[in-house]
């Protein structure tokens, strides 16, 4: 009945029977791993791998008591599941090693995410092993049991009902059809109950605008693949907006240089985002100016007025009628209605803006939250049940929300971690991490995604669905709650004619299934009137979700905290981004602490001087200043000059949510009038890159090299005329070395397409997870001792607001003439017969000569033994990679463990290694498919073809280090030739 099985399924599913699932089925759980078994294997792994170098240590080897079926210690198994970390619902494959998930990768078959995975989802695996998670139910801050908690809650809900007060379920967007069903049942049981959804990063305006224009509140699906012309009005769709991985995949497909034309992307924004950095044309405007621009474009489309830049954009949009896409990430109903009008006028509906299968990724309503606040003020709410949101932190009215919560007799929070709201709640229901729970989610209409446990729960946790089920009398197991729900309705929504059991098994095995779209009653298009926006014309604040933190729910994740912002390269902090001109005007230098105040609220934070930003805005990222981040106080190695990452009681970064405003009820993230004053204090910013351009200083620049040619850039028109355009020619190379390394079997090589790379940093986190790269803390980053094997260099060219940005992923270049190798006195870094530069940790004595001689600066030295004290957190370490100790050098190994595994696998199967069998961690995770890896000796391989491509070049070619990692010239779709051949 089954196709070939590629992934494992949670064992519970394999016991499916036709009859209604009863307790008999539950018994299969005994073959599942329990906590004890898990700890046993953990003990085995620890004993087996972590001890070495002491004299005849007595190591224990503790096998399973009862052999789980199909589990072989040391062998990785994969489960298909769904990520719940960022809310866009990407399909993931979970790598499970000795019963513990250790790595997440995008599911290549998943129709939406198509194999990519954003840094946040990749990093979320470490949160599973967070020893500071809440593991037990709590009532009045005391540990409790679920039975006691349930009776307490039910008693209070009944009391509230009798009192005639409201019960409010406050949740984030619910994407699970089964949860929606149980909520409906809950609301039916408690007639005085209501359900309020909100999204911390609000998309409410888009939904509300669609209600105005189409009569139904919905969020359409955007198809970037079909869009030949993209106008983005401050929508960071490659970084953080809505579903970045899916959009990057689709966007990339329409930028294939072999085709006749590629998409043209115009980006209008106030700050500098990675999407803006990728745009073919970037226009910098303050939020008020953006509003004016949209109005002008709309009127320029209708009649041929003269509006300058708007006319030009309108002309281009008209040229691409039905093949264009206009989007806006500004949470303002006025702008969104205008965007809807433009898309309607251009005939994009049904082509690039899809109403048939809308997105359910966001459905929160700002109006509803405002209404809830009013009700709370009036004392109408008797019980507030909050699920997995943190209103006290998220909402601008957070503080008063917290005060009001104290007046409500029953406050309950479903959460995985302690947070601002948890402190004020009577009852805490701990949620499991998504890697230990079941879920069914319809993030996009017609695409049902499955989440299955890949580890037995580490704590006494329970999902929202199960809790609701228990309270309304569906006291079934989690899986059965979902299964029974779908059993009932699957005939109305299934595609094809599989039996329910087959359908379910496919769903669990593949991680997703296509179903019939939910039909929405979309009304006839109405023009609608544009409500007033309240964007201020003066100095304004823009609060944006950063690529690492989004709304701050992952603030406790050390990997994400140490991930440099792709634009500012800032770690462990958020800063007030100001344009160079504005900073000069205010007499501010980078690192000066300023006070940003608005309407009596204020925040103090250091200044970061950001090129390419509007002079009228100060941009600050959301998601910082979360309680719970004080845990990072002592992060980093202990030594005499240690500066603590955080002072006593300090949090990582500053919260700015309280500066946000509401226009009518809609939450405004930009255009908020602020005052900036100097405080006289300064702060250290932990940046991983402190130089911004490739210009040589004027007094020292050789005449032939005003700009260093690390980035080659050309335009699409030029490229079509001459594919080698943009290339830097004429390096004379002399060599000391004889050509006596033939690389007879394999010769591994890599190419990175700078035209495709968006700087999203998925590869950086993927590399960190795969290769056990340690987190070092703010102080060490400040001392340039960050350990990332892979970094993304970012270079600006141009001046002021009008800058071009280039991203260049940089890791060990595995040079054929490696400069690091001859200088090592102990042969700890040597060349392999397959062209890899190997680092042998056990030989290294730590002279650091190699790092000094590396022109690419990709080697990292272990100045300390970085903390691995948290035994639970150590579960995430990849057992195939050595945990490096103090005093050794390390660097990218080209995922040698993956190469070895693929070779061993091919050998065992008796077939030769095929191109594409080996996927490196960075390559696999890339949503833009910018990285290609393969065998240079195989002339048919993708990499060999790319090396022959006229766009292919090496960085620092003139040194004749002969790297095997190459780059492909960046191609932008613009007319004018800008900056000549070189980026500078």
């Amino acid at each position: 009945m089954h196709k070939e099985k590629k992934y494992r399924m949670n064992q519970m599913t394999e016991a499916t029977t036709d009859s209604v699932v009863g307790p008999a089925d539950l018994e299969t759980t005994t073959t599942e791993w329990n906590r004890r078994d898990f700890l046993k294997t953990a003990g085995f792994s620890l004993a087996a791998f972590m001890t070495a170098c002491s004299k005849t240590p007595v190591n224990k080897a503790i096998p399973f008591l009862i052999q789980p079926e199909e589990v072989i210690p040391g062998k990785a198994y994969w489960y298909a599941s769904t990520s719940h970390a960022c809310g866009s619902g990407c399909g993931v494959l979970v790598k499970n090693r000795d019963s513990r998930p250790i790595k997440l990768e995008g599911n290549p078959d998943h129709p939406a995410s198509q194999g990519g995975l954003c840094p946040i989802c990749q990093a979320s695996v470490i949160e599973l092993y967070d020893s500071k998670r809440i593991y037990n139910p709590q009532v009045f801050r005391k540990g409790s049991t679920w039975a006691a908690l349930d009776s307490f809650v039910l008693k209070n809900l009944n009391k509230t009902r009798k009192q005639g007060k409201q019960i409010v379920l406050l949740t984030e967007t619910i994407t699970s059809p089964s949860i929606k069903f149980y909520i409906k049942k809950f609301l039916k049981k408690y007639s005085n109950a209501s359900h309020v959804e909100y999204d911390p990063i609000s998309y409410s305006a888009i939904l509300d605008a669609h209600e105005v224009n189409y009569g139904t509140r919905f969020l359409p699906q955007y198809d970037f693949e079909k869009a030949d012309m993209i106008l983005s009005l401050d929508a960071d769709f490659l970084g953080t907006w809505l579903s970045p991985t899916q959009f990057t995949k689709d966007y990339r497909k329409n930028r294939n240089l072999d085709s006749k034309h590629i998409s043209k992307h115009i980006h209008v924004e106030s700050r500098l985002s990675i999407t803006g950095a990728k745009a073919d044309k970037r226009i910098v405007k303050s939020p008020a100016e953006i509003l004016q621009l949209v109005k002008d474009i709309e009127s320029a489309l209708q009649k041929n007025g003269e509006h300058g830049i708007a006319t030009n954009i309108a002309k281009e949009l008209k040229h691409y009628k039905g093949k264009s896409l206009v989007i806006s990430g500004i949470n303002d109903i006025g702008i969104q209605i205008l965007v809807n009008r433009i898309n309607k006028f251009l005939g994009n509906i049904g082509k690039t803006v899809l109403h048939k299968n809308p997105s359910f990724q966001k459905s929160g309503s700002d109006n509803a939250v405002s209404q809830l606040l009013t009700d709370m003020k009036l004392g109408k709410v008797g019980a507030l049940l909050i699920s997995d949101v943190n209103p006290v932190y998220d909402l601008p009215e957070g503080e008063s929300f917290g005060e009001l919560m104290k007046t409500i007799s029953t406050t309950l929070l479903f959460t995985t971690k302690k947070n601002e709201t948890a402190e004020l709640c009577n009852v805490i229901c701990p949620l499991p991490h998504y890697l230990e729970s079941w879920s069914d989610d319809e993030f996009i209409s017609g695409l049902l995604s499955m989440t299955q446990p890949t580890i037995r729960g580490l704590g006494d946790t329970r999902t929202f669905r199960k809790s609701l089920g228990d309270w309304i009398g569906y006291e079934d197991d989690e899986r059965i709650l979902i299964r029974n729900y779908w059993k009932k309705i699957y005939s109305t929504r299934k595609k094809g004619n599989l039996s329910f059991n087959q359908w379910w098994d496919n769903l669990v095995h593949d991680g997703f299934v296509n179903i019939k779209e939910k039909s929405l009653s979309i009304g006839r298009y109405k023009q609608g009137s544009v409500p007033k926006s309240n964007f201020n014309n003066g100095m304004t604040l823009i609060a944006y979700p950063s690529l690492q933190m989004l709304d701050g729910r992952h603030a406790e994740n050390p990997w994400l905290q140490e991930l440099p912002d792709p634009i500012s390269k800032l770690t462990w902090d958020n800063a007030a981004n100001l344009s160079p001109k504005k900073a000069k005007e205010l007499g501010l230098n980078q690192g000066d602490v300023v006070k940003i105040s608005s309407n009596g609220n204020s925040v103090e934070m250091p200044v970061y001087i950001q090129d390419g930003q509007s002079d009228k805005v100060v941009a600050v990222s959301l998601g910082y200043g979360r309680k719970g981040t004080e845990r990072f106080k002592n992060l980093g190695p202990d030594w005499i000059q240690k500066k603590v990452t955080l002072d006593e009681g300090e949090l990582v970064g500053e919260r700015v949510n309280h500066l946000l405003e509401r226009n009518d009820n809609t939450l405004t993230f930009s255009g908020i009038s602020v005052n900036i004053t100097k405080t006289g204090k300064t702060a250290d910013l932990a940046l991983t890159q402190t130089y911004n351009t490739l210009k040589n200083p004027e007094n020292t620049a050789p005449p032939s090299m005003k700009v260093r040619p690390f980035i080659q850039e050309t335009t699409f028109g030029e490229y079509k005329k001459d594919p080698s355009s943009g290339a830097h020619h004429g390096h004379q190379v002399v060599t000391l070395w004889k050509d006596d390394h033939p690389y007879e079997k394999h010769h591994w090589g890599m190419a990175i397409d700078l035209g495709a790379c968006t700087g999203c940093s998925a590869c950086v986190i993927s590399c960190q997870v795969e290769n056990n790269v340690p987190v070092v803390g703010k102080d060490e980053v400040f001392r340039r001792r960050d350990m990332a094997w892979m970094r993304i260099d970012r270079y600006y060219s141009g001046d002021g607001e009008d800058v071009d940005v280039a991203f260049q992923p940089m890791m060990c270049q595995h040079c054929d003439n490696s400069p690091c190798e001859p200088v090592c006195p102990v042969l700890a870094t040597v060349h392999s017969s397959e062209g890899l530069n190997q680092q042998v940790y056990n030989r290294c004595v730590g002279t650091r000569f190699c790092a000094n001689n590396c022109p690419y600066k990709v080697r990292r030295f272990n100045w300390f033994d970085y903390a691995h004290n948290d035994e639970l957190e150590n579960m995430v370490l990849n057992p195939d990679i050595t945990v490096r100790s103090r005093g050794v050098m390390e660097k990218c190994s080209m995922c040698i463990q993956r190469i070895q595994e693929a070779k061993i696998e091919a050998k065992a199967k008796g077939i030769p290694l095929a191109d594409g069998d080996i996927k490196l961690a960075c390559q696999q995770s890339c949503p833009a498919d910018a990285i290609t890896f393969g065998d240079l000796n195989d002339k048919e391989s993708d990499i060999s073809k790319l090396v022959e491509d006229p766009r292919h070049y090496h960085v620092l070619e003139e040194l004749n280090a002969r790297p095997t990692v190459g780059y492909l010239t960046m191609v932008r779709n613009r007319e004018e030739e800008k900056g000549g051949n070189h980026h500078g």
Binding site: F49, M50, K55, K60, P63, I72, K907
Partner: protein
């Protein structure tokens, strides 16, 4: 005279070195050759692998599929020891004695096998005890390699290396013992050889001399 004294001192030094190095108790740090620790259960490889001729991979089934050959789960022991609770001789003796004493033959469990039952949470007859949880046997690991070495059984089994090549004649060992020194030189001795004798050796053994074959 001075010269002679020097020569004699040198000679004594060299002889001393030879004595020290030839002494069998001296070894490089980490070298555990001839390590033969006492195990929690007196499991006899001689009996199982030798006399009974059970294939190695019946118990160590991970070897052909994974890095680790693995130590069998206690449940694997129970595949046979559900039925075998003592030696044949012990049974015959008990039968003789019971006939001699004119009583019913009792089922008997050997001391070592009762440890398996104990681990499983069973009673001395090998029957599960209600509500009793088992506890895995904590074997002492014999073959240890440092954690910067990545040895995988799988490619060696694929290549047709015999288990005894590295583990010695296990079928004659009462208690398991590390026969080789498992040093890098010892690994390379084999990796450098031309492996015509192996069924499925890599085409070029030379390739497997890269550091990154084992160190990453």
């Amino acid at each position: 005279m001075q010269k002679q004294l020097k020569l004699v001192t040198l000679l004594i030094f060299v002889v001393g070195l030879i004595i020290v190095f030839s002494n069998s108790t001296y070894r490089m740090p980490g070298n555990q050759q001839n390590y033969e620790p006492i195990q929690p259960i007196d499991f006899s490889h001689r009996l199982h692998a030798g006399e009974m001729d059970i294939p190695c991979q019946y118990c160590h089934y991970g070897a052909s599929q994974s890095r680790h050959a693995g130590i069998p789960a206690t449940s694997v022991c129970m595949n046979c020891h559900k039925y075998v609770s003592a030696t044949k001789e012990a049974f015959q003796l008990e039968e003789k004695e019971s006939v001699f004493e004119g009583r019913e033959t009792e089922s008997i469990t050997s001391v070592e096998i009762s440890k398996i039952y104990e681990a499983m949470g069973y009673d001395s007859q090998g029957e599960p005890i209600e509500g009793k949880e088992g506890k895995s046997v904590e074997w002492v690991k014999v073959h240890n390699i440092p954690d910067f070495v990545f040895f995988s059984h799988k490619p060696h089994i694929t290549a047709g290396v015999d288990c005894t090549d590295c583990h010695g004649d296990v079928s004659s060992m009462e208690r398991i013992k590390q026969t080789e020194d498992l040093s890098m030189g010892w690994c390379l001795d084999c990796h450098r050889k031309d492996h015509e004798s192996l069924d499925n050796a890599p085409e070029r053994t030379q390739l497997l001399l890269d550091c990154a074959t084992c160190h990453y």
